[in-house]
């Protein structure tokens, strides 16, 4: 792959208030590209795998930064860096699951500038797609990964639909597990959608990984009190401890009644394009003891319906074992 020192020519807009950003995004439509920390964006542009006429840089908008308690809800501005989320006392105190997930993304330097809004909006990490090949997700009519000789060790086990790329975000499974909601603004107004609905798979929309459309700005993420202070477990398995994307990750929350589980929320990352919520496991756990016996009995359900590709079969026992570990921990 050729390496380019610089990005191609483009315009740069640096609005200082959200209203200006919305007006510019609305006016430019699909000719504009919203950029947060830019850690996903610049790779696309340097490689010429995607191009844009104009970058709309959101980093100058102070109202998109910071973490505030608003009644029962904890609101995280979309431009808050992953380091800030990982270190924030409110997040650590109430939703340590999210702090852990944020603190394990990529590398320290990337977390210092990468934002939580960008982390959940990032594109998938299929190298055929990233290489700029004309695959389904890029608007073409074939998939290079789901072939007998394709390099698909990191790809999806579930919900493949022409595209088998796995989601790359570490914070996404944690946000789905915590029943978070996403606040989206455009020139028409504001709407709030659940994290579960925010992420979209290829069956629904093969060109996008979220429901954000040109003109939309993700402004904040809201964490309701549902799982505040619950018993959490987060784990990410990757080939390298730094930089690397998950092979499988798990974000789990438990409410306990004595020794038994009264409620559970269990979500796996990197096993499909969107975070995968394991409702069958959650339901089976209700009323059971939080123990290895329960974990052994319930964990096989986690991978029901998994379809391994040529080289990612190892993800099935890996996912099952992560579920087991989350329950037994």
């Amino acid at each position: 792959m050729p390496s380019h020192d610089v990005m191609p020519n483009m315009e740069l807009y640096q609005p200082a208030v959200l209203e200006d950003a919305l007006a510019i995004a609305d006016r430019l439509g699909d000719r504009g590209w919203l950029v947060g920390g830019g850690q996903d964006t610049y790779g696309w542009l340097k490689d010429r795998a995607k191009t844009t006429d104009a970058l709309i840089d959101l980093s100058g908008i102070d109202s998109l930064r910071g973490i505030r308690q608003d009644g029962d809800t904890l609101e995280i501005g979309a431009m808050t860096t992953l380091t800030e989320v990982a270190e924030n006392p409110l997040v650590r105190g109430q939703f340590s699951l999210l702090a852990e997930a944020s603190g394990i993304v990529a590398s320290p330097q990337i977390r210092n500038i990468g934002t939580i809004g960008g982390n959940v909006s990032q594109d998938v990490r299929c190298w055929y797609y990233r290489r700029g090949l004309s695959c389904y997700r890029a608007g073409g009519n074939l998939c290079y990964a789901d072939t007998p000789e394709g390099m698909n060790r990191e790809h999806a086990l579930f919900e493949g639909s022409r595209c088998v790329a796995a989601g790359a975000s570490d914070t996404a499974p944690a946000l789905v597990a915590l029943n978070a909601s996403m606040v989206i603004r455009n020139s028409g107004g504001e709407r709030e959608v659940s994290a579960e609905d925010f992420f979209v798979g290829p069956a629904l929309d093969i060109l996008n990984t979220t429901m954000l459309r040109p003109g939309d700005v993700l402004t904040a993420i809201r964490l309701p009190s549902d799982w505040r202070g619950a018993s959490f477990h987060f784990e990410k398995v990757a080939d390298r401890n730094v930089w690397d994307f998950s092979l499988v990750s798990i974000a789990a929350a438990f409410r306990l009644n004595g020794d038994s589980i009264s409620e559970a929320s269990i979500v796996c990352g990197a096993v499909q394009t969107t975070p995968r919520r394991l409702r069958n496991v959650e339901n089976a756990l209700r009323g059971m003891s939080k123990s290895m016996t329960t974990a052994e009995a319930v964990s096989p359900m986690a991978t029901a319906g998994a379809r391994a590709l040529a080289h990612n079969g190892f993800k099935i026992p890996l996912m099952r074992n992560l579920v087991k570990r989350a329950i037994a921990a």
Partner: protein, 194 residues
């Protein structure tokens, strides 16, 4: 047009590249061509305590500006995509990959590159001295980035333990594999080497 998007605010917020005229952003271009457009590429950076005025392209990265416009070639470009750490600089005291930050994003912020680490009289920074004492670098290409990450760590935590050093340097790749030597160097600089 949004009433809040006044012409003045718009002009302050947009920077045009040389290619703008061909990109079809006609409405904005027409409004912004009032003599300010070209000057917008000029910006003042605070690098190693000095204000430096540069003419940077809108899409230019800080690593490019430091090396090729300001001649500060101590900052190395390894992968140019945020995967090696050789280009690490401090922005307001925080380590960042300068290959993955736009120059126009650090206006008004304090940038420190490897050239700004030593004292005014040329005395090496304690981290640099300790790296010499511990023979930390092998080929040396990743060393400027390792120094920057170590300096940022010690500014925030003057007495880190080995694990904290490991974490702080974890975003800096060393293809020679001299990690333990770098970690020993940071611990020596902190007076923590047993």
């Amino acid at each position: 047009m949004n009433a809040k998007l006044t012409r003045r605010r718009f002009i302050k917020g947009v920077i045009f590249s040389g290619a703008a005229a061909t990109t079809g952003a006609g409405v904005y271009l027409a409004q912004a061509q009032s003599g300010l457009a070209a000057a917008e590429r000029l910006l003042t950076l605070n690098v190693n305590g000095q204000d430096r005025t540069v003419d940077a392209l809108p899409q230019e990265t800080l690593a490019h500006t430091l090396r090729y416009r300001l001649n500060l070639t101590g900052t190395k470009i390894g992968c140019n995509r945020g995967e090696c750490g050789a280009c690490t600089v401090l922005i307001n005291g925080v380590p960042n990959y300068s290959c993955s930050v736009l120059t126009h994003n650090v206006k008004g912020q304090a940038v420190v590159s490897i050239e700004g680490v030593k004292a005014a009289d040329g005395t090496l920074h304690p981290v640099q001295q300790a790296f010499v004492a511990e023979n930390s670098p092998q080929c040396g290409f990743c060393t400027p980035g390792q120094v920057m990450s170590a300096v940022a760590l010690l500014n925030n935590n003057p007495a880190p333990d080995r694990q904290q050093v490991r974490m702080a340097l974890s975003g800096n790749l060393c293809r020679c594999g001299a990690y333990e030597h770098y970690i020993n160097g940071v611990l020596r600089a902190a007076g923590q080497l047993a």
